[in-house]
């Protein structure tokens, strides 16, 4: 990315024109202008439920959004997977791209590249996937993400190729705000694990992005996202997935950082035999606000899904989880479950947990279970009666609470990372 002046800041058509003049385009100017117009025209997302949602998004100040500062040069991006524990990686520090893709994978047709390069060199493959799961025309922040897209990755696994270790996509917003766009496509019988990391430096940043996952027939895609921005930052991501015939897509969302997180996932089961797992966890501490929505849409029959969300809040943490299972009239014989549990660790913490099952077909199985509560007095007494001090007992119970969701995330390395990150949040109480 060319070095640009700091005069251009904020969300405006002027900033956009400036951004386009400097960047190599993953999207053409017309698409970006249309998206910006959509962003400006679309109302703020509202919901008929929840107590905190409505008054917050209007307050986000985007007048200081920076996309043209010189990239940070002294930032060491945190690593979850050491180089021998990953198969490939694409890393962005601001706009500076670093790609590692072993020849062995490249020769088998595996693509790990930035979105602008993909646009030039893998146009057809990218076009087949991009924009198929997230509709920017009716999603305000997805539209904004597309308009200002300044970082992005395309990961493609060709038919029949299995990648042994995770492919890591890492976006670091350090001197600039980030508008990341991730596209992951897996061909027939392909197998891959993709870990996406969203991180920041110490400065408050705005991250607004899109992630799309397209799994072909009998493909297996494990996708996990770990958001660990600093706690002054704001993160808004729209995610979409489509699950092919007999394909398995497992999605793990770990929202650890940010002052405000808005994360929306829509998974579409549009082919028989498809299976989707969604696992989500967040822990709103301090003054963090988290808003997570997941939807699994069973459009056809013989599709299955499991959703498990574990959310906790302490201090003045506020959060909402909207969990939706949609079973369309045509989705006979589908089998789905939704489990969401909330742990409240302080009087002022609040989580609205709003599960919704929309079932239009008859012969389906749909399970739903939800709990909201504080730390159980009997569990606490039991641990304390074994000599464990109260603080330590509460810590154990709280960490244990997340474990069923953590267990759904790919690789022991990532699970250990999540446990440590949650433990650090619990211990900071």
């Amino acid at each position: 990315m060319a070095s640009l002046s700091l005069d251009h800041a904020g969300i405006s058509s002027e900033t956009l024109e400036h951004l386009m003049a400097g960047a190599s385009p993953a999207f053409d100017a017309a698409a970006r202008r249309t998206a910006l117009a959509a962003y400006e025209a679309l109302p703020y997302p509202t919901a008929s439920y929840g107590r905190y949602w409505k008054h917050d998004l209007h307050k986000i100040d985007l007048t200081h959004v920076v996309t043209s500062a010189a990239p940070a040069t002294d930032f060491a991006a945190p690593e979850i997977f050491a180089s021998d524990a990953r198969s490939a990686q694409i890393s962005f520090i601001d706009g500076v791209i670093a790609i590692e893709l072993p020849d062995a994978l490249r020769e088998r047709g595996v693509i790990v590249t930035d979105l602008a390069t993909a646009r030039r060199t893998h146009t057809a493959l990218l076009d087949a996937a991009l924009g198929t799961t997230v509709n920017v025309a009716d999603d305000k922040y997805a539209a904004l993400a597309l308009a200002f897209q300044n970082v992005g990755a395309f990961v493609h696994i060709p038919a029949g190729v299995a990648v042994d270790h995770p492919i890591v996509i890492r976006y670091a917003a350090v001197a600039n705000d980030a508008f990341p766009y991730t596209v992951i496509s897996a061909g027939e019988n392909a197998r891959v694990t993709v870990i996406e990391q969203l991180v920041t430096g110490d400065a408050p940043r705005f991250m607004c992005g899109i992630a799309e996952i397209i799994a072909g027939t009998r493909a297996q895609v494990d996708y996990a996202m770990v958001q660990s921005a600093n706690i002054q930052s704001k993160t808004m991501i729209a995610r979409g997935a489509t699950v092919g015939n007999d394909a398995v897509v497992r999605i793990g969302l770990a929202e650890l950082g940010s002052a405000l997180t808005v994360d929306t996932l829509k998974a579409l089961e549009h082919a028989p035999g498809g299976h989707t797992d969604v696992a989500g966890l967040f822990f709103a501490t301090g003054d963090q606000h988290v808003d997570l929505s997941t939807q699994v849409d069973h459009a056809v029959g013989s599709t299955t899904s499991n959703t498990i969300i574990k959310s906790a809040a302490s201090d003045r943490g506020q959060a909402r989880y909207l969990g939706n299972i949609r079973i369309r009239k045509s989705a006979h014989g589908s089998d789905s479950s939704l489990r969401d549990d909330v742990l409240l660790l302080s009087e002022k913490a609040h989580v609205d947990s709003i599960p919704a099952l929309e079932i239009a077909a008859n012969d389906v199985k749909a399970f739903h279970g939800a709990t909201v509560g504080a730390i159980d007095a009997d569990q606490l007494f039991y641990l304390m009666s074994r000599g464990v001090p109260r603080v330590e007992a509460e810590r154990l119970i709280a960490l244990g609470f997340f474990e069923p969701a953590i267990a759904q995330f790919p690789t022991e390395t990532l699970r250990v990372h999540l446990r440590e990150a949650l433990e650090a949040k619990v211990t900071a109480q």
């Binding site: 159980d376 007095a377 641990l383 074994r386 464990v388 007992a393 154990l396 244990g400």
Partner: protein
């Protein structure tokens, strides 16, 4: 030392505003097995919870000293550190916390200057063996999805590993099949034969004398209506087995009249 023992003096306690313990006097001696028997509702479990400091149980008066140290007013973890252990009738499930992690944390809390990890591991495996427990147990979540027998075995495993000065076993025999009961008996008896365990005093709370066929009681106390109404030797358990509690109730009533 004259103040040795788990000494309960005139203990009165209530739950949800209702007084259940009406002045309990009882001394559990080191190295001895005391059985506490009584009909349902006599306050046996309340005594166990009141001694261990459950927050729902309000102490109205009296004292509980452990080798001279007053327990009343201490949080439950401090009582455990002082050397008190309660085997729960209905132990809580703690999802996501592995048995191994739990036991290690508990042992370190009660006895911080402890065994090196390898020796600790060896000890756990020995105790598992006595209890006929599969080592796979260690990686399961504490009591989560456990059968009644598995829960009681886990209580006994903790007892063996924490090696308290005084152990209260609350209805450990309830809901156990013969094999599980035998394992429980074996574990307690094995503990009592070790150098560390031979000084442990036991208070075995039970409704039926069945468990006493596996763990021999030295002294038997009968509790009714929140009081100890009779204390005697092991033969007292046989009387209960033969005649139930009614005879004793009549005796006590007669004595009062």
């Amino acid at each position: 030392m004259s103040d040795r023992g788990l000494r309960i003096k005139d203990l009165r306690a209530s739950v949800a505003g209702k007084q259940i313990l009406n002045g309990i006097d009882l001394v559990v001696e080191p190295g001895k097995v005391h059985a506490l028997m009584g009909p349902n509702g006599s306050g046996k479990s309340t005594l166990a919870f009141a001694m261990t400091g459950h927050p729902n149980y309000e102490i109205l008066g009296g004292s509980v000293t452990l080798d001279g140290e007053e327990l009343i007013g201490m949080p439950p973890d401090k009582r455990a550190k002082a050397g008190l252990f309660l085997s729960f009738q209905y132990p809580a499930a703690i999802p996501g916390v592995s048995v191994a992690n739990f036991i290690r944390t508990a042992r370190q809390s009660v006895n911080p200057t402890d065994l090196p990890p390898a020796k600790f591991r060896k000890m756990i495996f020995e105790k598992l063996d006595v209890l006929d427990m599969d080592p796979a147990f260690l990686s399961r979540s504490v009591n989560d999805g456990f059968s009644g027998g598995e829960k009681k075995r886990l209580e006994m495993l903790q007892l063996a590993i924490l090696n308290p000065k005084y152990a209260v076993l609350d209805e450990t025999d309830s809901g156990l099949d013969v094999d599980a009961l035998e394992s429980v008996g074996k574990s307690v008896n094995a503990m009592r034969e070790t150098d560390e365990g031979k000084e442990t005093g036991f208070l075995i709370i039970t409704h039926y004398p069945r468990i006493l066929q596996h763990i021999k009681a030295d002294i038997v106390h009968i509790m009714m209506d929140g009081r100890i109404v009779k204390t005697g030797g092991p033969e007292l358990a046989n009387v209960i087995e033969r005649e139930g509690y009614d005879k004793i109730r009549e005796e006590v009533a007669g004595g009062v009249a």
